[in-house]
Symmetry: none
Subunit: 175 residues, 4 copies
DNA sequence: AATGAATGAGCCTTCATTCAT
DNA sequence: AATGAATGAAGGCTCATTCAT
């Protein structure tokens, strides 16, 4: 990956996350990346190709993030780590961009890729099982619901106190 | 409101909800409504005017929906009704469109209008208080988070069993 | 001519004069006249029809204006009166509108109707002849040129002192 | 300036001059220039940008034209040259287009830029002074009036004998 | 690899005009 | 006579994409 390719990718990520995929023009991306518009197409074929490249890069990020949870054997820790992921993302501005984009895209393209979440869902199910919850599967689902809710609020609400809320949830899930 | 005006509004609602505001062209709306494109502008001035008209109509809907909850005096029933709203919306396809649009718009425009939710947040807080929860405010927030999560999953996930999940949540929130 | 017809005509005159024929929309005229847009077409068939109606009304005005000059027997007075016309028009705001429109239209439609000016040209030619000028025809032409120049400056230049200039011309043409 | 850019500029100049700025569509310009419509905007941003580009080019032309007059020391020659400019413009069809546009624009935008004429007005004033005229300033103004009149007639009247008229004026201004 | 010129389709909007009432 | 709904064509402009260099 050349330097210019990365510049394009970064510009695209930021713009897509900020203004949405559909509302970001390739010319704006080129300008922000300091690159000729044609070059985008030379390297990524398509506007869609650009998106795919970003997504691909993101998927590996996801895997790293999830691996940490899935590997965990202590059930309580599985839950804790899941919440802490959200917290960590919120802190890192670059990661924040990336995840905001993920959510924006979900709504723009109406693709909620369940498969991606399957590993954590399973990890959480087993965790709740081990902890003796009655309906571990549904409990896992609820926790995932909370995660989506947190993302919605964090990215769209101006004055949402993420840290505090996660703190509270962490306690609530402790017996 | 003439017949054609309503046709336009309905077509717009559906298309905005399905493809997003920015990605829906006025010509597509006109075609779907069986109307000349110019008529849209005669009646609604703008593409944005169209959106406002839809939103205005929606806000009154919101009020009706919320009034039912806010009036409720039985705290447990406040919580139950809040969940059931989600369930009801999911059943009514026309309402469904409208609410999907609301969420899409949130992400497209990055405006999460907190004020709109304030009445229920308050109602929920009082309800949790009466029921003797330790942190009623945060409990209300969590329930709202769950609602956002439910919306995200319901509108974006192909095979999400809303009914079932709400059933489960209803029980979980019963003591 | 009904009241509404006149309102339309007046609104059109003013708008055409101020913003030009092409740049004035029939809807703007209707709004200014306090009348439905359809009525314009009921009465004047066309946007062009509107213009014709205005022009026709103007032609009679022209005739009245010119009659005064053509009838004059004293040659010096013919010249004086010609200049004073310009002065008078400049004073009367309604007439001013009308004549501004005439000039605007000349440039917009590229029609400089020579025939309309023929009577004064003749009157001026005879006047210069009687006064013993060598080339009465060309002198008449020059005076007309000055009139066009005056109109150009008066209507387009912010700080043009029409009165003063005419005063000076009047003296210059006195022997 | 690429070849196509110039083609666009020329097409625009001619069409603006012939049909007016407001009445000339960018698509017509593109067609006449043998170019895609989008290219106009790539190079000139705006329809207005096109006009500015033309005007800018014209202003330098103006300077060259005026320099010749302003530099002249012989007062009589200053006057002669001023008239001859008009004559020359009338002969050169490309220049003719440009000046016609200038006048059309004056009437379309109602902007009579006095500053542009200031240099010649001054040159003429000094010339009339040197020649012993009583009111040199007003004499200069009158000559400018005649120029505006000439332009009006030349561009709008079908059968106006410019050459002849200028010949006559030249003699009239000779003592 | 990289640029910048060039394109064609589509977008939102305006406008003159027609029609039913 | 008068209105207001409705239309279809055109207008300025943006955008993703291609191509020659």
């Amino acid at each position: 990956m050349t330097e210019k390719q990365e510049k394009i990718l970064n510009a695209a990520l930021e713009l897509f996350a900020e203004e949405g995929y559909g509302s970001t023009s390739t010319s704006k991306i080129a300008k922000k990346a300091g690159v000729s518009e044609g070059l985008i197409f030379r390297h990524f074929t398509n506007k869609e190709g650009l998106l795919e490249a970003i997504s691909k890069e993101g998927e590996s990020r996801l895997k790293v993030l999830f691996a940490n949870i899935v590997m965990e054997s202590d059930p309580q820790e599985v839950i804790n780590k899941t919440f802490r992921i959200a917290s960590e993302i919120a802190m890192d501005s670059e990661q924040s961009h990336f995840w905001k984009l993920q959510y924006k895209l979900k709504w723009e393209t109406e693709l909620y890729d369940e498969k991606k979440m399957e590993p954590i869902r399973n990890a959480l199910t087993t965790a709740f099982e081990k902890l003796g919850y009655q309906n571990p599967e549904q409990e896992a689902d609820i926790l995932l619901l909370l995660l989506d809710g947190l993302a919605t609020r964090y990215f769209l609400s101006d004055n949402f106190d993420m840290e505090n809320m996660i703190e509270f949830l962490l306690i609530k899930y402790q017996e």
